[in-house]
């Protein structure tokens, strides 16, 4: 039993504690406690070692003592003051705060030829243009984009199916490129598309401006077509044709793909992964359904518990590691960014796993009707009758949009380190806050951590990764590092120090 007693603190000791958190890994390993420092550095220790650490009973000069000192769990008053290093790591992790929104989403139309049951946006018929972004709104949005100070910007076109409003894309890209002659930012264009409406003209234009494509590939034909019905029942075939065409014209890395997992998908982890191998992708993103848009309405048929997703993920990850070891490079997207968060002091660039929250602060979405939202998910809440997360209108200057009470509301619930449940969690340096998802699922921006599927997903996945990092054999370590470093396995003959 631990007493919160002053007696122990009064004893003359050589070291003092720095703020740190711990998590039980709930297993039989002797080092079943994960301790994490404010910097995000971590160690695995035993129960006894944790008690000794807090009880000031550690022996000076042992390897454990030196590790705790070097990784900022303890410090020695009157000796080296570690604040400079700790601040440097902290700053590095929160660097995304200093640049302004870097991801700008342009919803150029709601028209689409698919009727995906998990679709998170409203859909409009192909023929009309009443759901297209107007040229005026588009120009205003370009102005907003450049009001962000970020030196690196990503412009992502979404919909519906954005290629149906290609003229608008063309206008926006040309305006951005022209302004950038003067602004000189590093800008990447991405189009999120089914690839069913490609033309030579579109590809020529994309080649000129270095535009990349992101598409959905849910798995082999039977799965993809079941998830994503089209009038011709040929979504899969047309998407594959599109991928091939993009690669031929723009290069093999110009098309990336993600899966969206329905309950049916969860039965086919191997088939989905094999499909990605077959189509020559080097990365797959196994993302679970989010609670927005049509997905919410069709929850009877589509929904599955987070626990089921996590089982699927673990099976898939094990399979992925195995095929990587056999010589095929295929990384998993979410795993790679979790590895970045755990193994490096850098922020990952992924806006949905950040503290303070990425929405608004790191991302802006310009809707087809001129409204501005802090993220894609905020827009999708419209489907659920919620427009309360709208920041304003595209004609308002960026400074004004970012001063919207919505931003303050998001920040008040969006600093994980301050939230109940998160503030004590050892995984908080690697995780984030998602007030919008909590609002969608629990009706409350802060949400209750014990009932949060966002928490369940991230804590289970992170814990699983930590166990792999602690116990995984050399080959497993090498595969994970090959994803982190984006290098082939042959280029990584030795995993190196495990930390």
């Amino acid at each position: 039993m631990f007493k919160v007693a002053a007696a122990i603190l009064a004893r003359e000791v050589g070291y003092k504690l720095l703020p740190f958190r711990f998590l039980r890994l709930d297993d039989t390993s002797p080092k079943n406690l994960l301790i994490t420092a404010e910097t995000g550095e971590y160690l695995f220790v035993s129960e006894l070692q944790l008690r000794q650490l807090v009880g000031k009973q550690l022996e000076r000069g042992t390897p454990l003592y030196k590790n705790l000192l070097a990784r900022h769990f303890i410090y020695e008053p009157q000796r080296h003051n570690p604040i400079a290093e700790i601040a440097a790591q902290y700053r590095s992790r929160k660097e995304f705060l200093f640049g302004g929104p870097a991801l700008h989403l342009f919803v150029v139309t709601l028209r689409c030829n698919h009727t995906c049951q998990y679709c998170q946006v409203s859909r409009a018929p192909l023929g009309g243009s009443g759901h297209d972004m107007s040229p005026e709104h588009a120009s205003h949005a370009v102005n907003r984009l450049f009001e962000s100070p970020s030196p690196v910007l990503t412009v992502e076109f979404q919909g519906g199916e954005p290629l149906l409003a290609f003229d608008r894309i063309r206008q926006i890209v040309e305006e951005v490129a022209e302004r950038n002659e003067h602004e000189k930012r590093s800008i990447q264009f991405v189009i999120s598309s089914t690839l069913h409406h490609l033309t030579d003209e579109i590809l020529d234009f994309s080649k000129t401006h270095g535009i990349q494509f992101s598409t959905s590939l849910d798995g082999p034909a039977f799965l993809h077509n079941a998830n994503r019905p089209t009038p011709g029942k040929d979504a899969y075939e047309r998407t594959l044709k599109g991928i091939e065409w993009v690669r031929k014209r723009l290069g093999s890395d110009a098309a990336s793909a993600l899966t969206t997992l329905t309950a049916k998908s969860l039965q086919y982890p191997y088939a989905i992964i094999d499909e990605y191998v077959q189509q020559g992708f080097n990365s797959i993103a196994l993302r679970p359904l989010s609670p927005y848009g049509f997905a919410k309405k069709s929850s009877q048929r589509l929904d599955y518990s987070m626990a089921e997703y996590i089982d699927f993920y673990k099976t898939s990850l094990a399979y992925l590691i195995r095929i990587n070891q056999q010589g095929t490079y295929l990384s998993e997207g979410y795993t790679s960014l979790l590895l970045n968060n755990v193994l490096t002091p850098f922020s990952s660039g992924y806006v949905d796993l950040r503290s303070p929250v990425g929405a608004g602060v790191g991302t802006l979405l310009y809707n087809y009707d001129g409204d501005v939202y802090p993220s894609d998910e905020a827009r999708m809440l419209l489907e659920m009758g919620e427009d309360g997360l709208r920041l304003g209108y595209v004609t308002q200057p960026l400074q004004e949009l970012l001063r919207s009470p919505v931003i303050e509301l998001l920040l008040s619930a969006g600093v994980a380190e301050a939230l109940p449940g998160c503030s004590d969690c050892a995984l908080v340096p690697y995780c984030g806050a998602d007030p919008i998802e909590h609002f969608a699922r629990q009706g409350d921006l802060i949400g209750h951590r014990a009932f949060s599927t966002f928490c369940q997903k991230n804590s289970e996945l992170l814990t699983h990764l930590f166990r792999l990092l602690r116990d995984g054999d050399d080959d497993t370590q090498r595969v994970l590092l090959s994803w982190l470093a984006r290098r082939s396995l042959e280029d990584l003959p030795v995993a190196g120090y495990k930390g």
Partner: protein, 100 residues
């Protein structure tokens, strides 16, 4: 199968905030009501009313979980007391350096 149990805590060893945090963390599987009587805290525990297997939790298992959770949060409180203010100080130094 449902049961109800009571755990009595010495508040000097397990302050209210510790008990509350333990209760919060276990909410998905246990319902815990906290009340104070003199120097003691009374925790009235029942399985949470959900379908995720909580009803399989026996009283003995629940006690083990609660005890562990209480001890863990007590330890966190001890760390927090000793390092209080440092977290804010570190964040302040870091962000000031960056001109925020």
């Amino acid at each position: 199968m449902t049961w109800a149990g009571t755990i009595v805590l010495d508040e000097s060893a397990y302050p209210l905030s510790v008990a509350q945090k333990a209760a919060y963390a276990l909410s998905s599987i246990l319902s815990i009501l906290i009340s104070r009587q003199g120097d003691a805290l009374y925790l009235v525990v029942t399985p949470a009313d959900l379908q995720n297997g909580a009803s399989h939790l026996s009283e003995a298992q629940a006690r083990v979980l609660i005890t562990r959770s209480l001890n863990d949060f007590a330890l966190r409180q001890q760390i927090q007391l000793e390092t209080s203010g440092l977290r804010e100080l570190l964040a302040g130094v870091a962000l000031r350096e960056a001109g925020v």
